[in-house]
């Protein structure tokens, strides 16, 4: 898809590519290839390397340390990082908390919390969903009660990803029970080491631990832990969801994984002396995924191009979550066909390419059932499209 990029952008890509080649530790790339839930220190190491170059918070405004890139440059940067197997950056600090704080937080909060996110020293988790408020955030029951000098928070949060190693949580809590459900919520910054917080690991179907349930029993949050105004939390949360439209598509990760899968199928033997990828059914399935993946890539590019030129993204922005998540699942489903029997083993034997690759794919395949559910399930996205875009 080179036809989309200007000469300056191609030059920028070369610069990024060269930097990554020289600075990405090979062991980090290997861990990224092998694993699915990376350790905190591995993510932090890469974050620090990027921060030194000024590239860690690549989509933040320059006043908060961003490099001042256009959305297209960010696309190129992210694509290059993914294709080099660079570790993912911690999604909550970078994409959710940072923009929340520099948009709605006080100047003290900005000074106190943004540097840690930028450098990779501070890890955040998200406290929005609850056991009885999954897709329906208006049903949040966690309460924050005003006391002298702060707030007392009580309740529990579900699906706290990375909560077990996070330093801080951005937490949605009900501050006013007497108004309609959406308007009585506020956003708080909660120290994960505060008294009264306990976590219970949630093991997911890939047998991994990246998610937790967080219990908050009379957790004290000082006054300066409130973000923006009281009872404004819903507005802030919605703003951010509509602001960050393309990250959920995970287009770069999908492209990288699809390329790896293609390489694997080209390295494995198929029947009749052919490579596996040359078996007609396999080749056809790869090709159909390619047609869909390239259409996702262009869709994301077109949203970013609009943003680059200062136009608000049109309704196409609401579809990338749906098509991006479905594609992630199609890629891992294809992987299961490529792996065959090896794909259903928990332990793998030998150091063949197949054995090396199998475990990661199997875990990804299972864990990725989540992507059509989280961040607003695809059913909810479809209702949004029907109502807001099609006016039904």
């Amino acid at each position: 898809m080179d036809a989309f990029f200007t000469a300056d952008e191609i030059a920028f890509r070369d610069e990024v590519r060269a930097f990554i080649r020289e600075n990405l530790p090979t062991d980090l790339a290997q861990k990224t290839r092998d694993g699915i839930h990376l350790a905190r220190e591995d993510m932090a190491r890469w974050n620090t390397i990027l921060d030194k170059r000024g590239w860690a918070v690549h989509h933040w405004p320059t006043e908060y340390g961003g490099p001042g890139w256009t959305p297209i440059q960010r696309f190129i940067f992210e694509a290059e990082c993914a294709s080099a197997d660079a570790p993912p950056l911690s999604v909550f600090g970078l994409y959710l908390v940072g923009p929340t704080i520099y948009t709605f937080g006080s100047s003290e909060q900005r000074a106190r919390y943004l540097p840690g996110i930028r450098s990779g020293e501070a890890f955040w988790c998200q406290g929005y969903s609850e056991p009885d408020a999954g897709s329906d955030l208006a049903a949040v029951r966690t309460t924050a009660r005003k006391v002298e000098g702060g707030w007392i928070i009580d309740g529990s949060k579900a699906w706290t990803s990375e909560g077990h190693f996070a330093d801080l949580m951005i937490c949605l809590a009900r501050t006013n029970p007497n108004v309609k459900p959406q308007t009585g919520l506020s956003l708080f910054i909660v120290d994960m080491k505060a008294k009264g917080i306990s976590l219970q690991p949630v093991i997911t179907i890939d047998s991994g631990h990246s998610v937790n349930t967080t219990f908050m029993d009379s957790v004290f949050v000082p006054d300066d832990g409130l973000i923006g105004g009281v009872d404004k939390g819903w507005t802030y949360a919605k703003f951010l969801l509509s602001h960050e439209r393309t990250n959920n598509a995970q287009v770069h990760r999908s492209r990288r994984e699809f390329t790896r899968l293609k390489d694997l199928a080209a390295a494995l033997p198929g029947s009749g002396g052919r490579r596996l990828i040359d078996e007609p059914a396999m080749c056809r399935r790869f090709t159909l995924v390619e047609a869909n993946l390239v259409s996702l890539e262009v869709t994301v590019l077109r949203i970013l191009a609009d943003q680059t030129e200062g136009r608000e993204p049109g309704p196409e922005a609401s579809i990338v979550k749906i098509i991006g998540s479905e594609l992630q699942q199609r890629i891992t489903e294809l992987a299961m066909e490529v792996l065959g029997e090896e794909g259903v083993k928990v332990e793998h034997e030998g150091d063949s390419l197949l054995a090396q690759e199998a475990q990661g794919w199997t875990k990804r395949h299972l864990f990725r059932r989540v992507v059509t559910i989280y961040a607003g399930s695809n059913e909810i996205q479809k209702t949004i499209i029907a109502r807001s875009v099609l006016g039904m």
């Binding site: 898809m1 080179d2 036809a3 989309f4 200007t6 297209i72 293609k262 390489d263 080209a266 390295a267 490579r275 990828i277 040359d278 080749c283 056809r284 790869f286 090709t287 159909l288 390619e290 047609a291 869909n292 390239v294 259409s295 996702l296 262009v298 869709t299 590019l301 077109r302 191009a305 680059t308 030129e309 309704p315 196409e316 579809i319 749906i322 098509i323 059913e379 996205q381 479809k382 209702t383 499209i385 029907a386 109502r387 875009v389 099609l390 006016g391 039904m392």
Partner: protein
């Protein structure tokens, strides 16, 4: 995709003018003729600059880009236009650009003025003997060949050596079978039976011709998909409007969640197709490999997701969607037609596979 403010303004003007003209002259009504290919409309289209747009300046053209050219075809598709615009807006300008200027300039002038019409005659099993300059074999489905004054004939397109691109004046000596397509357009098969052609009819031969034929066919694919896309996007709008009006079980159909989700799915598919068309528009002038990938990806997407999106529109419309008087069935037939022309869906899947899966293992 990224365009200057000025280009954007030009784009908008072109699209708006085209849409107004098409809606005025080609409004859908139950009694309308299926064939609205009228000479006065063609001349007016020429006055709008549709046929000069794809021509380079040196041939007196407006040197419009892929986005602008496709926007005309999209708008034509939206009203289910059935005149052979594709060959004259997108293909003939390319072929003329490849010709000797002395011959090309007068032809370009007449094309731009709407005085002549080209038809693209895809290859079926046509063979040209180099020694005798005689043509033998049967063409593929040629849209608008009966109404054309000039035929752009693809010959021997399956091999580099046998390839030629011919420009023939439309000619009653050639046996022609005319037929309608299910989307209302007229088309023909040409039967060349030991036909002698003059030396200068061959615009290109061998490798040059082979590349040019691939280019023309990719343009036909991309342009055909633009027409189909316009039809489909219009069809979704029509369907959603109908759902808002139609009441069943005491509520508008548009209020049922299952119906809403079906339309949201069609919307997603249509937006993806719009993206692929944006790629197609820039790929028209990109490397042959990128152009071929964009064309085949579009064709595959149209033949699968595009048809699914259109059939969903019929489904939610219910009985009325099955009637000839209502528009949505014709949208479906337009898509089905484009899916069948210029290489089948499976043929383009195979081609895309060849392009993106390297035939030797990665190093």
């Amino acid at each position: 995709m990224r365009r200057s403010e000025q280009t954007r303004a030009e784009d908008t003007l072109l699209r708006d003018t085209s849409r107004r003209f098409l809606e005025d002259t080609y409004a859908w009504d139950e009694g309308r003729s299926r064939r609205a290919d009228r000479a006065d409309h063609w001349r007016f289209a020429a006055e709008l600059g549709w046929f000069a747009l794809g021509l380079p300046e040196r041939l007196g053209g407006l040197e419009g880009d892929g986005n602008q050219l496709l926007s005309i075809l999209e708008e034509a598709g939206r009203v289910l236009h059935d005149a052979p615009l594709l060959a004259n807006v997108l293909l003939a300008p390319k072929a003329l650009s490849a010709m000797n200027e002395a011959v090309a300039i007068p032809l370009a002038e007449k094309l731009a003025a709407g005085e002549i019409r080209f038809a693209y005659v895809p290859d079926g099993s046509v063979h040209l003997s180099r020694s005798t300059m005689r043509l033998e074999g049967r063409s593929g489905v040629a849209l608008g060949a009966a109404e054309a004054t000039h035929w752009l004939v693809a010959v021997g397109s399956r091999s580099v050596d046998g390839a030629s691109l011919l420009l023939l004046p439309a000619n009653d000596a050639v046996r022609r079978t005319d037929f309608r397509l299910i989307d209302g357009r007229s088309a023909s098969t040409l039967h060349f039976e030991d036909l002698a052609i003059p030396d200068d009819a061959a615009l290109a031969r061998g490798e040059t011709a082979f590349r040019l034929l691939e280019d023309l066919n990719d343009r036909a694919v991309i342009g055909g998909c633009a027409e189909a896309f316009g039809a489909l996007e219009g069809g979704l709008g029509l369907t959603v409007d109908y759902l808002k009006q139609r009441t069943q079980f005491g509520a508008p159909l548009s209020s049922f969640q299952a119906v809403q989700h079906k339309m949201a799915e069609s919307f997603c598919e249509i937006e993806q197709m719009r993206s692929l068309l944006l790629w197609g528009a820039v790929a028209l002038d990109a490397s042959p490999d990128e152009r071929a990938q964009a064309a085949s990806a579009l064709k595959v997407f149209l033949g699968r997701e595009g048809l699914t999106a259109a059939s969903r529109c019929i489904q939610v419309s219910g009985g009325i969607g099955l009637t000839e008087d209502y528009r949505i069935g014709h949208v479906y037939k337009r898509l089905q037609t484009v899916a069948a022309l210029f290489g089948s869906t499976e043929a383009h899947i195979a081609r895309l596979g060849d392009l993106f899966i390297p035939s030797t293992p990665p190093a």
